[in-house]
């Protein structure tokens, strides 16, 4: 019975996150446009784009093998699976029993691996270039993500995200310098992983600069829709993770409808504030040269390491 309930909650949470993800993407686009004195797309544009892509017929290269077809599907499935491991409205992850931060990072890595191999599959130079760039950055970003998460895990004494969140809720507002260091480190990682401007430009198809876009350049129709949707979901997931680890206040601790509603409003509000941060970071910075990106990521690696080290000093 409990297992059934957990799966139902997981489905519900994944559904909500999937439904909100395109909205977040468009909201950031819209805010960015407003900052540049443009009008920006209508707020539902994310959904229109997905619908348009889903209705098209899938076009695949003749040389592509099953890996190419499987790539977006595994990427999407991994992103959805990862959302069930993170507490969103309620102070426990639906599938908390399955694992904590290690499983979360592993699941996300699986998705990245699937997409990178699929990009190599067609043999197009852009796919290969994008995959190699993405992996170069991931090799640095992943340890930084792990260290940042470990810093929080160390404070809570557990690798389970649910336990961390409940610990933070229980102790109330009290900070350690390590929290801010980990937050700064993880924020840079979020920007890196979601392909935002100092690292990658989500709005360009210029061959010299693109990373994520180069990887998925070959995809069209429903395949592309899956990739886009999963990327939006991943962005929402990372922001939710930041909220969970550093300011979970307001999250529901019981399943009373009022508590859940408060949780929903608090979550939406905090995600919106973080989205403003992301927008400002994207609008005020110039894109870094590719060779400078590892420097930025190594800064976040350093911050995350210090966050962990300071706990012991």
């Amino acid at each position: 019975m409990d297992t059934l309930l957990a799966f139902a909650a997981a489905l519900l949470q994944a559904g909500v996150m999937l439904a909100v993800a395109p909205l977040l993407k468009t909201a950031i686009k819209k805010m960015k446009a407003r900052l540049q004195n443009r009008k920006g797309p209508p707020i539902l544009q994310g959904y229109y784009d997905l619908l348009k892509l889903l209705r098209k017929e899938p076009l695949r290269s003749e040389t592509a093998s099953w890996i190419y077809v499987a790539g977006p599907r595994v990427y999407f499935a991994a992103a959805v699976a990862a959302t069930t491991l993170v507490p969103v409205l309620y102070a426990a992850a639906p599938l908390e029993a399955a694992g904590g931060i290690l499983l979360l990072v592993g699941t996300l890595a699986l998705g990245r691996f699937a997409l990178a191999t699929a990009a190599l599959d067609t043999g197009s130079p852009f796919g290969g270039m994008g995959a190699s760039r993405d992996m170069t950055i991931a090799a640095l970003a992943e340890p930084a993500l792990m260290l940042g998460l470990f810093a929080s895990a160390l404070a809570a004494g557990s690798l389970s995200l649910g336990v961390m969140v409940r610990g933070l809720l229980h102790q109330g507002l009290s900070f350690h310098p390590s929290d801010l260091l980990a937050f700064a480190g993880l924020f840079i990682i979020v920007i890196t992983e979601t392909g935002r401007i100092p690292v990658d430009n989500p709005a360009t198809h210029l061959e010299l600069t693109m990373i994520h876009e180069a990887m998925v350049l070959e995809y069209a129709g429903p395949d592309l829709a899956l990739v886009e949707w999963a990327s939006a979901l991943k962005e929402l997931l990372y922001l939710t993770l930041l909220v969970d680890l550093f300011l979970p206040a307001g999250m529901a601790t019981s399943i009373a409808p009022v508590a859940l509603l408060v949780g929903l409003l608090a979550w939406a509000g905090k995600i919106f504030v973080l989205a403003i941060f992301v927008t400002v970071a994207e609008s005020t910075n110039a894109k870094l040269r590719l060779f400078r990106v590892p420097e930025l990521v190594s800064v976040s690696l350093g911050l995350a390491f210090l966050a962990l080290a300071i706990r012991f000093l």
Binding site: L173, F175, P177, L181, A184, S298, G302, A309
Partner: protein, 215 residues
């Protein structure tokens, strides 16, 4: 609440110092220094409110006006006039500098436990952060070539000393504080002029070229 604000501001200062290490654009480094000074002003104001030390309001105001706004503005104007915007080649590359600064931060934090006040509580974090920033500042001073980044490093060191003076000790007499602020301003002005002279002479801000002057 007070404790949280103090800890977050101190940690913010440390983050800005570390970001300065990973930074090659001069404007961003100057902005980071400005942000760091503003956080220092917040620290002073918080202590002034919580402990009712009214002379600290003056310190907070001076810090914000001079170090948070005036000095960054002056440095940016200097950079603008010279037209050199990038630290091209520090003596050490970013990852290596960063690694060393991580070590320095760990040392600074560890050493802070040797002070009587520094073994626990907020003052442990304040002293730890201040010592770390001090060491990072000294490190930046010896590894950067550009005169402007060296000035920034000097000012960072000064911020660190101020953090300890404000946060941990019972404070300095107002006249000393005014003297220090005045000193900092004059130092920045003189160094600004010096930068102009170096650029005039060598058409570069690289201070290692000064060794050419030796006969």
């Amino acid at each position: 609440m007070t404790v949280n604000v103090l800890i977050l501001c101190a940690a913010g200062m440390l983050v800005s110092a570390l970001l300065m290490v990973g930074q090659k654009a001069l404007f961003t480094a100057i902005r980071l220094y400005g942000a760091q000074s503003l956080l220092l002003a917040v620290v002073a104001a918080t202590i002034a409110i919580s402990e009712g030390r009214h002379e600290l309001y003056v310190t907070a105001g001076l810090t914000m006006a001079l170090k948070g706004i005036l000095i960054p503005w002056f440095l940016m104007r200097t950079v603008d006039r010279i037209g050199i915007h990038r630290e091209i080649e520090p003596f050490l590359n970013v990852p290596a500098s960063l690694l060393i600064c991580l070590g320095l931060t760990v040392i600074g934090y560890r050493v802070s436990t040797g002070f009587q006040e520094g073994s626990r509580g907020v003052s442990h974090h304040l002293i730890g952060v201040a010592l770390s920033i001090l060491l990072i500042g000294l490190f930046l001073m010896v590894t950067r070539r550009k005169a402007i980044t060296q000035i920034l490093a000097l000012l960072t060191v000064e911020n660190a000393v101020f953090l300890v003076a404000v946060g941990v000790t019972t404070g300095m007499p107002l006249i000393v504080e005014l003297g220090i602020s005045f000193d900092v301003i004059v130092a920045v002005l003189i160094l600004g002029i010096l930068v102009h002279r170096i650029v005039d002479r060598f058409e570069s801000m690289d201070v290692s070229r000064l060794s050419n002057l030796k006969g």
